[in-house]
């Protein structure tokens, strides 16, 4: 059963099996994302609980325009960023400084990033600044559109495009630096 079928069944019957299926599919992903953003296990555990409540209480509002995983990601991301904002722990992941920097010229083609070996990709992303990493994940892992990212970050679409372009360029440069012996 795909996500959509499970959701429809859940909305019809409120069956615990449908709840468990969705929970088991997304719990570890949500928890991992919460830990990476909140950097605290207890907070991440509480956040996971709150996020699942939001997801299940708003399932009827899930417009099937986007993938369910994308919708789940945006709820998770927004929850964590809101939490950090409230606690004033948000050290401006997406600062405006990057957007003001001069243009970097040619854009790195998508396939060069998308086809990077998974282990190398993990290492490169691990070394990147949080803002750059997150925007690349939004675009390529969670497949959010530029418009969706701009709404989530409260930035203009052109600023988001520029941010992605720079992050891609940085990732490619880091890959070259980190794995120059292999290439």
């Amino acid at each position: 059963m795909n996500d959509l079928q499970i959701i429809q069944q859940y909305l019809k019957k409120q069956a615990s099996i449908c709840f468990s299926l969705l929970y088991n599919r997304y719990a570890s992903k949500i928890f991992a994302k919460c830990i990476s953003l909140l950097k605290d296990e207890t907070l991440a555990q509480d956040a996971t609980q709150e996020i699942f409540m939001k997801i299940f209480l708003n399932l009827t509002k899930f417009a099937e325009r986007a993938k369910f995983s994308t919708w789940v990601y945006s709820i998770t991301y927004n929850y964590c960023i809101d939490y950090l904002r409230k606690k004033k722990k948000l050290n401006n992941i997406f600062s405006d400084e990057m957007e003001k920097a001069p243009d970097i010229g040619e854009e790195v083609p998508d396939h060069e990033l998308l086809q990077m070996e998974t282990q190398k990709l993990k290492k490169v992303l691990g070394e990147m600044q949080e803002g750059d990493r997150e925007i690349l994940l939004m675009k390529y892992q969670y497949e959010l559109s530029i418009k969706e990212i701009s709404m989530m970050l409260d930035k203009s679409e052109s600023a988001v495009k520029m941010r992605i372009k720079r992050a891609k360029s940085k990732a490619q440069q880091m890959k070259k630096d980190m794995f120059k012996e292999e290439e």
Binding site: S28, F31, Q45, Q49, M53, L125, Y140, Q141
Partner: protein
């Protein structure tokens, strides 16, 4: 479909690691979420069952006619055994003209 290794970043191995490290915590969370959803469903059922009755009681108390009673009245109006109806207020105005 074009290859996208970003999709493999959170792979089965990583999922397994998280489940091993935090499995019991995530099971607790599941229990709590299901319990809370159950509570919300219970409250929702109560609201569904009693709010219309409470509204009817309020309408009756303020001198109006509750929905159920109104329905009965309209049913009796259709009964052919009822006597002839008197003139309505509107008719009486018309006759004066």
């Amino acid at each position: 479909m074009a290859q996208n290794n970003f999709q493999d970043l959170f792979d089965e191995e990583e999922e397994k690691e998280i489940n091993e490290a935090y499995g019991s915590k995530l099971t607790n969370v599941r229990g709590q979420v299901w319990q809370s959803l159950g509570f919300f469903r219970f409250v929702g059922d109560i609201v569904d069952a009693y709010i219309p009755k409470l509204l009817d009681a309020f309408i009756l108390a303020t001198g109006g006619r509750a929905s159920g009673i109104e329905h009965n009245d309209s049913a009796s109006e259709k009964n052919d055994n009822d006597g002839p109806k008197g003139p309505t207020f509107d008719n009486s105005i018309d006759s004066r003209k």
